[in-house]
Amino acid sequence: MIPGQRRSIFHWLAFLAVATLAAPASGHAQTNRSPGGTLVVAISADPGHLNPAITTSGATHTAAELIYNGLLGRDERGDPVPDLAESWVIEQSGAVYRFRLRDGVTWHDGTRFTAADVKFSFDEVLLKFHARTKASMSGALAGIEAPDDRTVIFRFKQPYAPLLQQLDATEAPIVAKHLYQGSDPQTNPANASPVGTGPFKFVAYKKGAEIRLARNAAYSKRGLPYLDEIVMRVIPDPGTQVLALESGEVDFLWGVPGPHQSRLQADARFRMGQTSYHPGGSNCIMTVSFNLDRPTLKDVRVRRAIALALDRDAFLRQVLFNEGKVATAPISSEILWAHARGLTLPSFDRAEAERLLEASGWKKERDATRVARGVAGVPDGTRFTLDFLHFPAFAKYGELMRQQLGAVGIDVTQRPLEPAVFAPTVFKDRAFDTNVISYCNGPDPEIGVRRMYHSSQIGPAPFTNAAGYRNERVDALFDRAGRTVERERRSELYRQIQEILVQELPYVWLVETPTTRAWSARCSGFKAWTGLFAEEASCKR
């Protein structure tokens, strides 16, 4: 725990399940776990390559992060902890960050790790190829310096708040300068036979089948890791993954489909725990976007009526099999300091929804579907129809939308589109009325929340401000929050933002969607909140 930081009862309850993943203890090198053993992990896709610095692909990150380290790690609350950097100092109100690197760290090939590796990783790899790091940091950064082998300095054009949340192995894995210098990082052969500083060394990559890693005996954190070997086994079908766990062919699943959870839960051979962290995106909220350019959806009373007509508990039960929770604010409850508690989001009230629709000019006449009578910008007699775009995997959200809005006289048409088509349709062409997106807030609102609401984030880049929401005050508050390093002040700014959003409802925040990890009961010590999830894990032989 970092001294001086408060932990509320709420926090402990929220993370109870996750904390069990680390049982019996999360402090490294202090447990009595016996070394040795093999852990077989099911991964959903062949990563293609094993360099997490050149991609945000969940497939590469799940398979490869254990080979690398970031400057910092994350604790179970998402707060920064030392990793390659042993300490840091924030200067000039957050415009300068100075890191002191751990001594005696070596790459898996024996070469000494230095500050030059960090500078090179950012300048030549991360800020060019890691989409998230490039998008959030490159415009703000003035430069990175490595004045000596153990010091790295980040200088920003103005105070930059989220940096410490962007330095773990997921957001900024450090790669070896001596292997990548002078090459195209995307085609460098080291991507397929990687060399990192992490707890496990690369052994073999059988394409489409498995990646084998072995214990790094020279790991900089003494006594770690415990496991001798990790095998990342590619199993694309989630149902097969569960069967493989049950048959003992694998030991760890990154996710368990809802219908299988109760079966595994009841089986003493397995342990389960929820976490909102995932290398592909953390702290995700399933969110309905309204296209605010559409005359039908400009009136906040209509948006409120839609929000009131949606029974979000039903989404939790029927779509997620209770794996998650109903959203209570625009920012995920997993970002404890930024999430606003006590807000009043519209809760299911069909009668009030119908009253608001009537008041806003959408009348119930002969048909079940309402028609416009005096709605601004909408010809009288127009039927209230909405299309609803979603990934094919989110079809159940569409079915419930159609059912629940149909009950108040709004006719919803589902339009399933695969991700590669969905994104340009929504963000470039803006050819939609409503949609549902799993917006992942990331470790800091500056990374995954700002993009949803700031007016500078309206198209064409994917997964930005889908609603087309514009509010100068909200823009200004986000800008201030991004420059404010002091957490309590930031927290207050985000609270103000969320209060405005709940009033204006450019979106409906449906449910927070953690994932459920499952693993063999003979294994323990997993850190589900980080990409280095097996750094402290062990398995009885």
Partner: protein, 320 residues
């Protein structure tokens, strides 16, 4: 068969493959979807997308991209995978052995099994064995392979513990030599059986129909009248039934590769089917084009071999 005929048939492969590549290129590039988006995930900014498009040449017009692709292809270069960052030839050839093993085993199982069951059903026409084989074939033909795969994994793998649920080898053991081969064969059983099931049903039905037809002909009646044993009569009928059967088996090679996409996904078999699915999802165009090229050449070659098999099966067939 004259060498000239063979040469002419081989020469026909070139425009056929060219046409397939052209069609595949146009279809893939005009289909909705953005490979750069699939690579960048949800947090990229406009500059990143522009940079990646330029890097992959996706910022150029479609004719320019086609010209560049065709020019590389003529030099034997299939390009570099967007996702894997390595030459397509390497990416595809790494997966080829697993798919070849699976599909040839499935094809061999379905052909041999279908012939045997079809002959059995024909010889016992309208009796219990025939009824069982016909019903089984109908079920096998009507059952979707992805469903059959799930059921096989639940019952035969998890239920009995006789077979592994997934994979090419056992993840916990690194075997070599004969033990490695046995391990692979152990993992091959279920996927090959599931992939063979649909084809087995089709072959069984065709064989039964062909043999029954043959047994009803004059030559069969004459052979029987001469006192030839039943087995020998069936052999004669079977040879005549083989002609349409070979046509169908040859034509099913493309279908069996399609089936492999589903079966490989369910059983986590590291072959081309799995690669094809993930490449479609990520819009990895160079890999997809490379696989289309490979499969289309394979289908054309198999069809050529099928034609050649006619001459061997039926001495009346002559290619000039």
């Amino acid at each position: 068969m004259s060498p000239r005929y063979l040469l002419r048939r081989v020469a026909q492969v070139v425009p056929a493959v060219g046409g397939i590549v052209l069609l595949a290129f146009i279809v893939i590039h005009t289909a909705p979807g953005d490979p750069v988006l699939a690579l960048a995930g949800e947090h990229g900014d406009a500059a990143y997308y522009a940079f990646m498009r330029q890097k992959f040449g996706l910022d150029r017009s479609l004719p320019e991209q086609l010209l560049a692709y065709a020019s590389r292809l003529l030099h034997g270069d299939l390009g570099v995978s967007y996702v894997h960052g390595r030459p397509v030839v390497d990416v595809v050839s790494e997966r080829l052995p697993a798919t070849l093993l699976l599909t040839t085993t499935a094809l061999a199982l379905s052909s041999a099994g279908g012939l045997a069951l079809g002959v059995l059903a024909a010889r016992r026409a309208d009796r219990t064995a025939d009824f069982v084989v016909r019903t089984g074939a109908l079920l096998g033909y009507a059952t979707p392979s992805f469903w059959l795969a799930q059921i096989a994994a639940i019952t035969l793998a998890l239920g009995t513990g006789l077979f592994p649920v997934q994979g090419f080898t056992d993840a916990r053991r690194q075997l070599a030599g004969g033990r490695y081969v046995l391990d692979v064969l152990h993992h091959l059983v279920l996927p090959a059986l599931v992939l063979a099931a649909g084809e087995l049903a089709l072959t069984t039905r065709l064989t039964r129909a062909g043999v029954l037809e043959g047994l009803a002909t004059d030559y069969a009646r004459t052979a029987r009248a001469k006192g030839l044993p039943d087995r020998a009569v069936v052999r004669h009928a079977l040879r005549n039934a083989m002609l349409p059967l070979v046509t169908v088996i040859g034509g099913r090679v493309g279908m069996i590769v399609t089936g492999a996409v589903l079966v490989e996904t369910v059983f986590a078999w590291p072959g081309l089917g799995q690669l094809m699915l993930s490449s479609i999802q990520t819009r990895d165009v160079p890999v997809l084009l490379g696989m289309f090229l490979l499969v289309s050449v394979a289908v054309i070659i198999v069809n050529l071999l099928t034609d050649l098999a006619y001459a061997w099966l039926d001495p009346r067939v002559r290619y000039e």
